[in-house]
Amino acid sequence: MLRFTLERFAGMVVTMLLVSVMVFLIMEIPPGDYADRYAFRKYSGTGVNVTEADIEAIRRDLGLDKPMLLRYFDWIGGIVLRGDFGQAFAFETSVTKVIGDKVWLTAGILFSTLLLTYLVSIPIGIYAAVRRGSAVDYGLTVFSYLGLALPNFLLALVMLYFANRWFGADIGGLFSDQYRDAPWSLAKAWDMAKHLWLPAVVLAWSAVAYQIQTVRATMSDELNKLSVTAARARGVPEMKLLVKYPARLAINPVVSTIGFDVNRIFSELPIVAVVLGLTELGELLLRAYLDLDMNVAGAILLLLTFAIVFMNFVSDLLLAWLDPRIKLGV
C-alpha cells in the first residue's frame, strides 16, 4: 500500500507540474501584457498621460521584461515557496488577499455538492438496478437524460425562481445581508448552510444524473454475477446480500470518478455562480477573465485544477482500499 501510495503521489506531482505550465501559457495568451493593462487600469481617467517609457518602467519593476521561462519559475516558485500568487491589478492588492477565504467557500460548495450527489445517486442507482425494467427505473432513465441535457444555468434560474417564491427573496447568494461582511461566527456558518443547499442542488443535478446511470449499470452487472447467486444459495438475507456483495462493488466506479465529478462541478461553477450570485472562486474567475486580470484567473484556474488532481489521487487511494485486487495489480 505504501508503494502504491508513493507511486500515485509522484504521478500527482508530475501532473500538477504540467498543469501549472499549461495554466501559465493560458495566462500569457491575451494580447498585450500585464504592464499595459496595469497602466491603463491605474491611470485611465486620472488625466495622467502615460508614455511608453512609463509602461516600460512598470514592466521592469514587475519583472515582466524577463524571458518567459524565467517568469514561469518566478510565478510557480512564489506559489510553491511563499504561497504568493502575485499582484491582482484590478483590486490593487495581492491575489492571495483577493482569493482569501473564497477558497473555503468554494470548498464548502464543492463538498456539500459531492455529498449530496453521492447520497442521492448511489441508493437510487442501486434501487433502479434491482427494480430493473420497472416504471421507476424507466422514470429514472428519463430523468437522467433530462438531467444531462438541461443547461445548469437554466436549472439555476428555475430553482432560484421557485426558491424565491417558496422561501422568500433572500435565497440567492451565499449569505444573508447581515452576515455578508460580518466576521466568521457560528451564526454566519449556519446562515451559509441555509444558502448552500441551492447551489449544491443545482451543481449536483447533472452529476446525479450521470452517476445514477453508472451505479445502475455496474449494479446490474454485479447482480448477475455468480458470487451473488452463490451467496443467495447459502441463505444470506436478501437485504444484507445486496449491500454486502453487489452494492459494495457498484460504488467502485463512483469512487473512481470522484475527480471527474469535481471537474464537472468546477466547470459549471462560474456559470451557476453568475445566476445564483455566489461570491466564490468561480464567480471571481469569470470576473477576472472579463477584466483580463490574468494573475487572479491563473491562480484560480491553478487552484481548481490542483484540487481536481488531488481528488483524483484521493480517489485512487480510496479505490485501492475498497478493492483489494487493485493494489496487487490483479
Binding site: 508530475v14 501532473t15 504540467l18 498543469v19 499549461m22 495554466v23 493560458i26 495566462m27 495568451i29 491575451p30 494580447p31 437524460y145 433530462l146 444531462l148 441535457a149 438541461l150 443547461p151 445548469n152 444555468f153 437554466l154 434560474l157 428555475v158 432560484l160 425562481y161 424565491n164 475527480g259 471537474n263 464537472r264 468546477f266 466547470s267 459549471e268 461553477l269 462560474p270 456559470i271 453568475v274 445566476v275 468561480g282 474567475l285 469569470l286 477573465y289 472579463l290 483580463l292 484567473a297 484560480i300 484556474l301 481548481l304 485544477t305 481536481i308 488532481v309 483524483n312
Partner: protein, 386 residues
C-alpha cells in the same frame, strides 16, 4: 419439370420469404445492418427526425424565419407569443389567424402596452412576400415560409418579442443555424485533432505514446468551461462577429479531442500487431495510409458514436460561454446569446417566452444523446437478437 423447381413448389410461401430474408440478412454489408438495427430504435428515429427538422430550419433560416434576426418591431416590444387560432368570438375559419393589436395604457403602471383587438383578424399565409434576404448567403429571395400579408401593417410573432421588439421565433431559427454549425465545426476540428494525436499515439506506441498520454491527461484534468473561458477571454474585443465565430469553433475543437483520441489510441494499440496490419507494413505502406486504409475501418462505427455523443458538450459549452458573455456576442445570434436576455428571475416572471431557445438546447442535446445511444446499440454486433 426439373427437380429444383419441384422442390421450390414444396416450399410454402412463408418459408420462401423467410429464406429470402435470411439470405438478404447474411449478405448485407456492415452499414446496412447498422442501419436496419438503428431503424428499429424508435426513440433514436424520432430524435433523428427532430434534429433533421432543426438542421433544415437552420440551413434555410432566411426562408423559414419570417423576419431578420435584428429586425425590430417597435409596435410590439416585449410582447408575448401570438398563437394562431381558428376561432374567436366572431366564429371559426379554416385558415388560422391572429387578432390585430391596439395600443392601450396599462391602468396601473400607465405604460403603453399592446392588447389584442378582437375586431380585427389577420390571416396567416404561406410563402408571403417580405424582407429581401440572401438564402444560404447568396440567393436573394423575398418570400418567406409563413407570415402575414405584406399589406397588413402588423407583424406576427409566434414566440413573442424581446426588449427591442425583435422576433424571438426568427432569432431562434437563425440561432439554430449558428449553434448547430458551431457544434459541427467544433466536432470536426476535434475529430481531426483526435485522429492525428490518437493515431500517432496508438500507431507508434512507446515514447510518443507516453508523451501524448501525459499531455492528454493534463488537458482532461483542467475543468473545461473555465479553460474555454480563459481562451475566449483572450479574444480581442474589436474582432468582428465572423472572427469571433471561427475563434469559438476553434476553441471548442481545440480541447474536445482527448476522449476521442483515447478511443482511437486504444483501438489502434489493440490491432496494431494483427497480421493484416503487419502485412501492410511489410509491403512498405506509409503509416498514414496504414491507419486510414487498414486500421480505422475496423472501428469506424465506434468513432461515429463518439462523435455524435460529443455534440452535446460542444453545444452546451457554446451556450454556457455565450450566456456569460465570453462566447459569441451580439449582434450574432446563437442559443446562448439569446439566453443572455433571460439571465434573471425577472425574465422568468415577465417574459418567459425568452426561454424558448433553451428548449432548443435541451431538445438538441437530448436528440444527440439518444441518437448516440441508438447508434451504439446498432453498431454493437453482439447486441443482435436475430
Amino acid at each position: 419439370m426439373t427437380d429444383a423447381t419441384h422442390q421450390m413448389d414444396d416450399l410454402t410461401a412463408a418459408e420462401a420469404r423467410e429464406r429470402a430474408a435470411q439470405l438478404k440478412y447474411y449478405s448485407a454489408s456492415q452499414w446496412t445492418l447498422i442501419w436496419w438495427r438503428f431503424r428499429r430504435h424508435r426513440a433514436a428515429m424520432i430524435a433523428a427526425a427532430l434534429l433533421g427538422v432543426m438542421a433544415l430550419a437552420g440551413i434555410f433560416a432566411e426562408f423559414v424565419a419570417p423576419y431578420g434576426p435584428v429586425t425590430r418591431d417597435t409596435q410590439y416590444i416585449e410582447g408575448g407569443p401570438q398563437i394562431p387560432k381558428f376561432c374567436d368570438e366572431g366564429g371559426c375559419s379554416f385558415t388560422p389567424f391572429i387578432n390585430g393589436t391596439k395600443t392601450e395604457r396599462d391602468p396601473v403602471t400607465l405604460r403603453a402596452i399592446s392588447v389584442p383587438d378582437p375586431e380585427v383578424r389577420h390571416y396567416l399565409q404561406l410563402f408571403v412576400k417580405g424582407e429581401t434576404v440572401k438564402l444560404l448567403g447568396f440567393i436573394p429571395i423575398d418570400r418567406h415560409l409563413i407570415g402575414l400579408s405584406p399589406d397588413v401593417d402588423q407583424k406576427i410573432h409566434f414566440w413573442g418579442t424581446d426588449d427591442l421588439g425583435r422576433d424571438v421565433f426568427s432569432r431562434t431559427v437563425y440561432a439554430t443555424r449558428t449553434s448547430l454549425s458551431i457544434g459541427v465545426l467544433g466536432v470536426l476540428i476535434s475529430f481531426v485533432l483526435a485522429l492525428i494525436i490518437g493515431g500517432a499515439a496508438g500507431y507508434f506506441g512507446g515514447m510518443i505514446d507516453n508523451v501524448i498520454q501525459r499531455v492528454t491527461e493534463v488537458i482532461r484534468v483542467v475543468p473545461i468551461i473555465p479553460l474555454y473561458m480563459g481562451l475566449a477571454a483572450a479574444m480581442p474585443k474589436e474582432w468582428s462577429t465572423t472572427q469571433v465565430y471561427f475563434a469559438m469553433t476553434l476553441i471548442l475543437g481545440l480541447f474536445g479531442w482527448p476522449t476521442l483520441a483515447r478511443r482511437i489510441r486504444s483501438q489502434l494499440l489493440s490491432i496494431r500487431n494483427e497480421d493484416y496490419v503487419v502485412a501492410a507494413r511489410l509491403a512498405g505502406a506509409r503509416p498514414g495510409r496504414i491507419i486510414a486504409q487498414h486500421m480505422l475501418p475496423s472501428f469506424t462505427s465506434f468513432i461515429i458514436v463518439d462523435l455524435v455523443i460529443s455534440f452535446p458538450y460542444m453545444i452546451l459549452s457554446e451556450t454556457a460561454l455565450s450566456f456569460v458573455g465570453l462566447g459569441l456576442r451580439p449582434p450574432s445570434v446563437s442559443w446562448g446569446v439569446l439566453l443572455q436576455q433571460a439571465q434573471s428571475v425577472r425574465a422568468i416572471e415577465q417574459t418567459p417566452w425568452l426561454f424558448i431557445p433553451a428548449v432548443f438546447v435541451v431538445v438538441a442535446v437530448l436528440a444527440f444523446t439518444v441518437i448516440g445511444d441508438g447508434l451504439r446499440d446498432a453498431a454493437d454486433p453482439y447486441a443482435e437478437t436475430h
